[in-house]
């Protein structure tokens, strides 16, 4: 907002905040003070709670690659995602092509990515490649399915992390009725914290404009709290684990 009023609003709110915080608040009631004790000492000792401190309290994500894979697969199953294993991208391509045939899909959207291209090459139906110049929301809306890569798969919660930078933008993983995501085994991490670390490293400080943790196919419980899949996003989520 260019109007001077906005600066006044900002200054007023920040002045109210500063004034309000002049009286300190008591610490929250806590079960134990492990959280406090674990924070670095000093005057700001309570300002930082490393996620590492909380890690042993959160749901388990597995210590070894085998454990992580097992936990991820179990969680994805509970979330009603379809999990498929593939030895390599060629096998994954054959599995996706079989899906296309089985479902009678007419057009499938995908994006340029080393893990997606080989799969998209042998779909056996019309395909729509998304990149920064070809995006057309009507065309994407008409597609039966979308294929994307991912940035990480999180065992702890069964989530798939996608980003606008490396997974075909924002709409590809949400608008088509079916989302197929290609996950290589080295992308599986134990926890949400580990996934955030991976993304920070990958994008070196400048985050993509969208990061999304996808935890199962779209769902709603708004009608009588009864679970229905496919509210607005994909009704089905296929997770192809490659490797």
């Amino acid at each position: 907002m260019t109007a001077g009023g906005d600066t006044t609003a900002r200054d007023t709110i920040l002045a109210r905040v500063r004034e309000a915080l002049r009286v300190p608040a008591p610490l929250p009631h806590m079960k134990s003070h492990a959280a406090v004790a674990a924070a670095p000492a000093g005057p700001d000792s309570l300002t930082i709670l490393p996620v590492e401190v909380a890690r042993p309290w959160l749901p388990d994500g597995g210590e070894t690659a085998e454990e992580r894979l097992a936990i991820l697969t179990e969680n994805l199953g509970k979330l009603r995602a379809e999990v498929q294993r593939a030895a390599d991208l060629t096998a994954a391509a054959a599995q996706v092509a079989a899906l296309v045939r089985e479902r009678g899909w007419k057009r499938v959207a995908w994006h340029t990515h080393p893990a997606v291209e080989p799969v998209a090459a042998t779909l056996g139906c019309d395909s729509y490649r998304l990149d920064s110049t070809s995006f057309d929301k009507d065309a994407l809306e008409a597609c039966d399915a979308g294929i994307t890569a991912c940035d990480a798969a999180i065992a702890q919660t069964g989530s798939i992390l996608v980003s606008s930078a490396s997974c075909g933008g924002r709409a590809l993983s949400i608008l088509p009725h079916v989302h197929i995501v290609i996950v290589t085994l080295d992308q599986i991490v134990a926890t949400l914290g580990d996934a955030l670390d991976a993304i920070r490293t990958k994008h070196a400080g400048r985050m993509p404009s969208m990061l999304s943790f996808i935890t199962g196919p779209s769902r709603t419980g708004d009608i009588e709290r009864i679970l229905v899949l496919g509210a607005h996003g994909p009704k089905e989520l296929f997770v192809i684990l490659v490797g």
Partner: protein
């Protein structure tokens, strides 16, 4: 009322605040009598307890995880003076634009200006309680903008012309037959009693609307200071579509939603999902950092964030209740509250229902008119136990009662307490009074004095014991 606070009449809110208490008592009595409604709401919540407990059990130490979550929010709220400017600087560095609103009225004006600038014709909205708080839809419609709520529950409520019944489960009180009739009337669809089919009707109806909308409006669950991202939690995918397809994305958030580190979300997101809906994670947890970047396939050209105070700084200025700003709006306290389950969501007459609503509404809209909500509690503490960020909810209800008594004491209550002190500090008088009371209880039942009439309308007085507690105690020992 706090200076600068703002309210606009709303269909389900008391026309004048003075009537809020009267309305509450009336609606509560009505709902409590409606056993069908109560049974329906209890049944709808039945599955929640089971799945919440199953998800809690997956935490290796839920109680310590609550410590971590509450500490993350405590340290952010108590350093808001530092973190809010940090967040704004980083959000703007990502290409987003921030607009500050002191009041609901300012927020509405800002959003209407943004819509004018965008030459918006169609607006799609995903669930946002802050927008309910500022009564945004009414303002948009008044200015001629068609606005569609895309969240299924919010869409149903919009068609019904009602605000959300529960701030996480907006239409949990509505039966499927009613939804079928509603869709038949507004969308011309054939009747069905299948929740699945009803959901697909909304899905089909909404798809073109996402594609055709010029502006998407969303809320925000967390503002990450470290990275300048906003985090949005949802199950349906409607918020993702709302922030992906329209040319302009406007998010609305209270200033208290700042967290310092991106890593804080590694704790807060699973706790929000588990406490609120018994899920390991909500289906989509999405972080936005500005509009589309060069090289990205899609996304809005502009991203705006409206930062709203609307009396949040008044809560911040109360160190005793400052932790009520830790609230992550999971709705757990509503789900476990015996009052909520018996009086229903609309009876509160507030944007935020249930225990947390009863704590914060007096701050947002005036203690004198909204203190009765703090009285509507059994003080069982189920809310405090359920809160994933350890807000001391039921004690804050007591704090509100105390503050109300200090600022506008009731003469009758004062007189009553004075008499009690007089009697209770004189054992002989207490014993004599007790004896008199035991003998005259039948008379009270018969006479039904005005002070007891409301209470006796739905209850029986117990039979008086023949002997006092003290004499029974003496006889035992």
């Amino acid at each position: 009322m706090t200076p600068g606070a703002d309210t606009t009449p709303h269909a389900f809110e008391a026309e004048t605040p003075r009537l809020a208490k009267k309305k509450f008592l009336h609606d509560a009595a009505e709902h409590v009598r409606d056993t069908g409604h109560r049974a329906f709401v209890r049944k709808a919540l039945g599955g929640y307890y089971t799945s919440r407990d199953a998800q809690k059990a997956r935490f290796r130490d839920w109680e310590q995880a609550r410590d971590a979550a509450s500490l993350a929010k405590w340290s952010a709220v108590n350093r808001l003076d530092e973190l809010l400017p940090t967040f704004v600087a980083n959000f703007e560095a990502n290409g987003g634009r921030v607009h500050w609103a002191r009041t609901a009225d300012e927020a509405r004006t800002i959003i209407l200006e943004l819509l004018r600038d965008a030459k918006a014709k169609a607006v799609i909205k995903s669930k946002c309680m802050t927008s309910e708080e500022i009564h945004l839809n009414a303002a948009l419609e008044q200015d001629g903008y068609g606005v569609v709520e895309s969240d299924l529950g919010e869409f149903i409520q919009q068609l019904r012309g009602e605000p959300p019944y529960h701030f996480v489960f907006p239409c949990m009180h509505v039966r499927r037959e009613e939804i079928s009739d509603l869709f038949g009337k507004h969308l011309g669809t054939p009747p069905t009693d299948s929740p699945e089919e009803l959901t697909m009707i909304a899905r089909r109806h909404m798809r073109r609307l996402y594609v055709d909308a010029d502006v998407g409006i969303t809320g925000a669950n967390f503002l990450v200071a470290e990275t300048g991202q906003i985090s949005i939690t949802e199950n349906e995918g409607n918020a993702r579509l709302t922030a992906a397809l329209p040319r302009v994305h406007i998010a609305i958030s209270g200033i208290e939603k700042v967290v310092e580190h991106l890593d804080d979300l590694a704790v807060l997101l699973p706790m929000l999902a588990t406490a609120g809906a018994g899920q390991p994670m909500t289906c989509y947890n999405t972080l936005y950092a500005g509009p589309r970047r060069p090289g990205e396939c899609d996304g809005p050209e502009e991203m705006h964030l409206v930062l709203l105070d609307n009396s949040r700084t008044a809560i911040l200025a109360d160190p005793e209740q400052r932790d009520s700003l830790h609230c992550i709006r999971c709705g757990a306290c509503l789900n476990v509250c015996p009052i909520f389950k018996n009086v229903g969501g609309f009876t509160y007459g507030t944007t935020y229902q249930g225990p947390i609503g009863s704590v914060i509404t007096p701050h947002l809209r005036g203690l004198a008119d909204w203190n009765h909500l703090s009285g509507a509690s059994s003080l069982c503490g189920a809310c405090t136990d359920a809160c994933p960020v350890r807000i001391d909810i039921h004690h804050h209800l007591l704090h509100n009662r105390r503050n109300a008594a200090a600022t506008s004491p009731s003469r009758l209550e004062r007189l009553g307490h004075r008499m009690f002190v007089m009697v209770a500090s004189r054992p002989w008088l207490f014993a004599a009074g007790g004896a008199m009371f035991r003998k005259s209880l039948w008379l009270l039942k018969k006479l039904r004095p005005p002070l007891l009439r409301d209470w006796l309308a739905t209850r029986d007085l117990p039979a008086a014991p023949a002997r006092s507690f003290r004499s029974q105690w003496r006889a035992r020992s």
